[in-house]
Amino acid sequence: MSVYQFLYILAAAGFILGLKWMSSPATSRRGVLTAEAGMLVAIIGTLLRGDIVNYETIGIAIVLGAIIGAPIAIFMPMTGVPQRTAISQACGALASALIGTAEYYKLKPHGFTMGALIVETLLGFLTVTASVMAWGKLQEVLPGRPVTYKGQFFVNMGVLVSAIVIGVMIVLNPERSELYPWFVALALTFGVFLILPIGGADMPTVIALLNSYAGLSSCAMGFALNNKLLIIAGALDGSSGFILSVIMCRAMNRSFANVLFGGFGQVQVSAGGQEARPVRSASAEEAAQILETAGSVVIIPGYGMAVAQAQHKIRELADALTKKGVDVRFAIHPVAGRMPGHMNVLLAEADVSYDKLIEMEDINPEMAMTDVVLIVGANDIVNPAAETDPGSPIAGMPILAAYKARTVMVIKRSMGVGFAGIDNDLYYRPNTIMLFGDAKAFASSLVKELAAA
């Protein structure tokens, strides 16, 4: 066994241990360091292989990449994490797609290797455009609403199928390189079409799925280059992305196909006939009084908190209440926000202790014993229609049972609908108080009222 093979095994072990340590916040930083070390070992191992002569170019490329990458990581605000993940995914996928392309033109391999190459480039290229599209939607450069039209499903399938057909033709006859650019173009187009009908709330699932594609692309590259390390790392990445997207889908009670081809928002016609129902609203002063006299408060953050950058103010509010002897906790819905675990990161940034962040299954049984639930910029994840109305587009989606609490307070800018485009029955319940205003502004006036009281 040569040196580099040994180093590769070491690197693979590093990745696996790294992921294992990610399972708990206490060991997670060690996990990242281990995975980093694994990557370093992998690169050194590759450089030591002996058939590498072109050190200068490689060095320049790595330095250049680091110079671009580091500022992205350092200056990206925490609310921008979903976007960063998307764009970084595009970079990774681009790399593997380009490598596949170069391999193809160099070797024109036959049989199995060619098949692996086609899989690699197909997944690679479609992930590039899909990730850029996802980035655009998250950054709000592109409209976040799903773009749907009649026959979209067939158009998308048509593009995908023709890409696959051309791919198979290339595999059967690798000399026909004039087909290759068409193949690339179709893969890129499919990436765009794939994301068009997907709206903001489905982004967590999609980002996880694209993560999985990028990993599978690396894995296929491993088969094409006959490199075991690539296979292992790619498979780890692919399966983790896949399982995350499955978790996300389950959290919304929707199938993969539904997320990918569905597009919410077409169903609200039936709700249109309803007239305005009365809602109760309150000022910051009244709300502060209610909060102050409560024994236990559960805060449910949603995307609205991220948009308003309200996490620091919310933490101050939680601190102020804790100081007055109120038991404050946060309830986190698995798909709150725009990527898996989005809310956790934001609250961690605001220095909320992670043992105060409670998952849905653990908090729901306690909701009925809770005095006040404070909902900050969340909507669909607390909509009781998911449990009561089988005709609702979100029927069957597990929700945080906020409606069971004695009092529900909702900080919201307006009565507007949430992402799913449906009205929220919760707002009209007799025990619900609406607090209209920007989440950040309202939270800070609550803090002020509490300090004055």
Binding site: V32, V53, I68, A95, G215, S240, N344, Y354
Partner: protein, 87 residues
Amino acid sequence: MLAAFLGFELIRKVSPLLHTPLMSLTNAIASISVVGAIILSGEKDASTLSRVLGFIAIVSATVNLVSGYMITDRMLKMFKKREPSGK
């Protein structure tokens, strides 16, 4: 296959609390493709095409790698348990 199975087992154990850092970590691991890029562009008889494509591939994979690891670490630094005594 073994790796995929292992991946499944490992990820299942990760609490939803850490899903975002996990995503950015696996994202960074995906830039293992930098290894492929190095092999490709570093060979003695590499053609101009594979050198150019390889160069771009190394740059973009490193962007992914560096920013992925750094931001994961930055996120995890924030996940601290606050001492009951307060700061």
